[in-house]
């Protein structure tokens, strides 16, 4: 359990390798092994969703997955979503709609919403509420998050046309 082995994977389009004990969680590996502290850990038992990342296009709780299980996978985290000059429409919409307060649940919320809008581009309010119900936020009351995802969906659909 404690003998490290090298884990190789693609993170945000970049090939990365680092040592991890077999018991190391993917969340800890991203944060401590690769220095990607944008992925937050809120409960370590898979309920709050703050640690949500995309592994091969699917949202996962990185606190419920071992780093060694991600060997050879393609992982997307908040750091790969968009920079200061090329923000993702979801980041822009969260900003404009006040979809965040303390910012701690935000990376997980955004990655959950990325998966939703990539799989269901025309998602409506009810689908959005259902989708983000996988993640806990204690600050916003959710309304502005729902509105932000809706606004981003409309913008992304507009751009796609």
């Amino acid at each position: 359990m404690t003998t490290p082995r090298t884990v190789e994977l693609v993170v945000n389009g970049e090939r990365r390798a680092a040592d991890a004990e077999p018991r190391t969680l993917l969340s800890d590996f991203l944060r401590e092994g690769l220095g990607l502290t944008g992925t937050h850990v809120g409960c370590e038992h898979g309920v709050c969703g703050a640690c949500t990342v995309l592994v091969d296009g699917q949202s996962v709780r990185s606190c419920l997955m071992l780093a060694v299980q991600a060997e050879g996978s393609e992982v997307r985290t908040i750091e790969g979503l968009g920079g200061a000059d090329d923000m993702h429409p979801l980041q822009e919409a969260f900003w404009e709609k006040h979809g965040l307060q303390c910012g701690f649940c935000t990376p997980g919320m955004l990655m959950t919403a990325v998966e939703l809008l990539e799989s269901t581009p025309g998602a409506g309010m009810d689908e959005i509420r259902e989708a983000i119900s996988s993640n806990l936020c204690r600050c916003t009351g959710y309304q502005t998050i729902v509105e932000a995802v809706q606004a981003a969906a409309e913008r992304m659909q507009g751009e796609g046309q």
Binding site: W95, H98, C102, G103, L110, R138, C139, G141, Q143
Partner: protein
């Protein structure tokens, strides 16, 4: 003008890109060691042996420390920020929350018995599990309502009672007389459920001892870093000038992250002993167990009405939970915030309350968003709701008859507090229109005819926000000065850094404080940066809690900026050879009135630092500090209305609609305000419908140690909100602003509860304790049905 505008938040970019900087994210040049704790698995037990021998030699272990080591090191105990005082003014039966068990007895599940410091978190946890602790279990009680029963085990036998203190407030004889002469008296037993803030970021602390310079640094998930620094003088005996406390980005606080928790001095102690920086990050179970819990008041209330439904008096008797020990601010709930707000938004001539603080073998209770007001509003409003139904008067109509009319402000309540400004009838009328009240009642009747259960809940209340003034809060028991501080530093290039003693953990101060400063300084908001959360950089501060920061720290920003402008005008007047009174400041320029002669703010700033040509009595530099002590608390008010649907098959509650009409005085940023109201409402709704820090009543074991067991609302559990406002200016600060952080949280439990009771009244249901889960609702309907047979 920036004030009043929905400026997008200047702090958001880093959060949106995963570049927030929370305590757990911080790296140092040295490798950081980790702490793990051994905690009591029992609600009450004697600790007969702590054997650390196996742990000491385990891989990576740097230090193993126990209560005996703490005592040997000569460290201190916690001290109350708001210490308990009995009615006589004498110290009550205070037992402060221990940092680590030093007296051989643990009194609640989760109390710390030992600490391990190791190279990494897993090694620390492995070694903690290797520490052998022998316990002899003792009888325990976790139920507040039973605390003073004759056969209940004593938490602190030396005191001979579980009673911490008794306080009485209000007009006893007048209230008894009102109850005696009343046309109708309503009585309800209204316990408030034990809940916890459950910020999504767990508590996390890191300590570092710089042995070369003999200085200490603590990084902490805390809302008031200067107050933390103050209490390290008591715990580890570190003088304030030797300790730097940094509270960086903090992932939600809600009052719960205000305290000098046990783990905070312990990690610094671990750092001192191991000569390494040491970090602890709480597991969710440690947080749900060790974060302060809240509410848990057991109250019996009686309300007297005349024939028209006018309230003649209200009387309360409360057992207020302390848990196993006194947490630092607990007495602010029972002694300052509970009783003061008992009049809500109603003109009630006689109020009397008796509060008995009690110990139980449960996690210490302290302030959480609202602290005392959620209990009070819920209790008073449950009485009004039942009274209206019992007297056959429409609940909104009965409330409207009792609201404090606008012309009575400033309004002196029967409990002694003076509400400075407000207009409750205007709030009620807006709420009535917003929800289309008459249509809702018609819909309720139509649905009931179909066998469907719809309820309309409402509340109307005041909040006491903005803690200060210093004297008033001292008189209510605070041992800290409730002012706040800001420095406005103009750099020689004219750009500005504002240093504030508040702390933003979601509230958006980087935006709102900059809005205030930019207006006062007549400059571009992008020329301003804000520094908070660092005791080495910010001169002093009391922190962010109790919806106080705008009317204290925000006002300190306002005041310091005005002083900067006054000084800069003197320099500009000297340079322009005019009188300071003849100068206007706008858009970054000083202009001589009625002329085109002008100087830029930056030119004046530069000259303030670097020019020898200045008025003889004008000091060099352009920086001002304000210690702002407000003239009064602020008294925001609101009316909430909601619609609930109770499923007759499953007894599940759907919260269909929720409207809130708020009076928070002058608004700095309506977007931020709405965010505060939304988030607050959902925390209050959680208290009403699902949240409970549950204990097994027999064993005292904690049953809510994960997010699978402690339910907080998801997006699907709550509706979108309908908000409106009717603003009256606060009189206690020149901005005219009132606190806005807690209004949602304090109103929602009562509003939702009244909605559920309104939906089920025709079935004979009169009261259901919160959280109103389907099981409890089903049971209440069954019991009511049997009672009616």
């Amino acid at each position: 003008m920036y004030v009043g505008q929905a400026i997008l938040r200047r702090e958001d970019e880093r959060f949106l890109r995963g570049r927030g900087h929370y305590v757990e994210d911080i790296t140092l040049d040295e490798p950081i060691a980790h702490a793990a704790f051994v905690r009591s698995p029992h609600a009450h037990a004697a600790v007969t042996r702590v054997d650390t021998a196996r742990a000491v030699g385990m891989p990576g272990v740097l230090a193993v420390l126990t209560g005996a080591d703490w005592t040997a090191a000569g460290y201190g105990e916690a001290e109350g920020v708001w210490p308990v005082k009995d009615m006589s003014g004498a110290d009550a039966r205070t037992v402060n929350r221990p940092f680590i068990c030093t007296d051989g007895v643990v009194r609640c599940v989760g109390e710390i018995v030992a600490m391990v410091v190791a190279e990494d978190r897993h090694q620390a946890q492995d070694a903690a599990e290797a520490i052998a602790v022998d316990y002899e279990e003792k009888p325990a009680n976790t139920i507040t309502a039973r605390a003073l029963d004759p056969d209940t085990p004593l938490v602190h036998p030396a005191h001979g009672t579980n009673e911490v203190l008794v306080t009485e407030h209000g007009l006893k004889e007048e209230t008894e007389a009102a109850l005696a002469r009343a046309h109708h008296v309503t009585e309800v037993v209204v316990p408030t459920n034990r809940v916890t803030a459950a910020s999504i970021e767990p508590r996390c602390y890191m300590g570092h001892h710089d042995t070369v310079n003999d200085r200490y640094t603590v990084w902490t998930t805390n809302q008031a870093p200067h107050i933390v620094r103050r209490y390290f003088t008591k715990s580890l005996g570190i003088p304030e000038h030797k300790l730097r406390v940094i509270a960086p980005d903090v992932g939600g606080g809600f009052g719960m992250k205000l305290y000098h928790y046990p783990e905070e001095p312990l990690v610094l102690w671990g750092a001192i002993v191991s000569r390494r920086p040491v970090r602890w990050v709480g597991t969710r179970s440690e947080c749900l167990l060790g974060d302060t819990h809240a509410r848990d008041h057991h109250t019996v209330g009686r309300m007297a009405f005349d024939e028209e439904g006018r309230i003649l008096g209200v009387k309360f008797e409360t057992l207020g939970a302390f848990g196993a020990y006194e947490s630092q601010w607990n007495a602010s709930i029972t002694n300052a915030y509970h009783f003061t707000m008992l009049s809500l938004a109603y003109d009630i001539p006689a109020i009397h309350t008796t509060v008995r603080g009690v110990y139980t073998n449960a996690t210490p209770v302290d302030a959480y968003r609202g602290a005392g007001r959620p209990e009070t509003i819920y209790q008073v409003e449950r009485l009004i709701e039942n009274g209206a139904h019992e007297m056959g008067i429409d609940p909104l109509e009965l409330r409207a008859r009792n609201l404090i009319p606008a012309e009575k402000f400033p309004y002196q309540t029967a409990i002694g507090i003076i509400y400075d400004s407000g207009d409750p009838p205007a709030l009620m009328e807006k709420a009535r229109a917003l929800c289309d009240y008459d249509a809702l009642r018609a819909e309720q009747a139509a649905l009931r005819a179909e066998g469907r259960w719809m309820g309309i809940g409402m509340v109307a209340f005041f909040d006491m926000a903005g803690a200060g003034p210093v004297k008033m809060m001292n008189d209510l028991g605070a041992k800290i000065g409730c002012y706040d501080v800001a420095s406005v530093r103009v750099h020689p290039d004219g750009r500005i850094t504002v240093f504030a003693g508040s702390h933003s953990h979601g509230q958006g101060h980087e935006t709102t404080w900059s809005q205030i400063a930019a207006d006062r300084l007549g400059c571009d908001i992008d020329h301003i940066d804000l520094v908070e959360g660092d005791t080495d950089r910010v001169p002093m501060g009391i922190g962010t809690w109790g919806s106080r920061s705008l009317s204290t720290a925000g006002m300190a920003v306002y005041t310091a900026a005005d002083r900067v402008v006054a000084k800069a005008k003197r320099m500009a007047a000297h340079m322009l050879e005019c009188a300071a009174e003849d100068l206007d400041l706008a858009d970054g320029e000083f202009t001589v009135k009625g002329t085109d002669r002008k100087l830029s703010f930056a030119e004046v700033a530069n000259a303030s630092y670097h020019s020898g040509d200045r008025p003889a009595d004008l000091e060099i530099g352009l920086e001002e500090t304000s210690f702002f002590d407000p003239a009064d608390c602020t008294y925001p008010s609101a009316v909430h209305v909601c619609v609930v649907l109770v499923d007759p098959e499953t007894c599940a509650v759907t919260l269909r609609d929720y409207w809130a009409v708020d009076d928070v005085g002058t608004v700095i940023n309506p977007m931020v305000l709405h965010g505060q109201v939304h988030g607050g409402l959902v925390q209050g709704i959680g208290q009403a419908l699902m949240e409970e820090c549950a204990y097994d009543p027999e064993s005292g074991q904690y049953l809510a140690g994960t997010f699978m067991d402690y339910a907080i609302p998801h997006a699907e559990d709550v509706p979108s909100f309908g908000l409106d406002s009717h603003f009256t200016r606060a009189l206690g600060n020149p901005l005219g602003a009132k606190g806005a952080g807690e209004s949602g949280t304090i109103g929602a439990p009562g509003c939702v509860a009244n909605g559920v009771i309104d939906a089920l009244w025709h079935l004979g249901v009169r009261q259901i304790t919160q959280p109103m889960t389907p099981k409890k609702i089903w049971r209440a309907i069954e019991d009511a049905g049997r009672a009616q047979q």
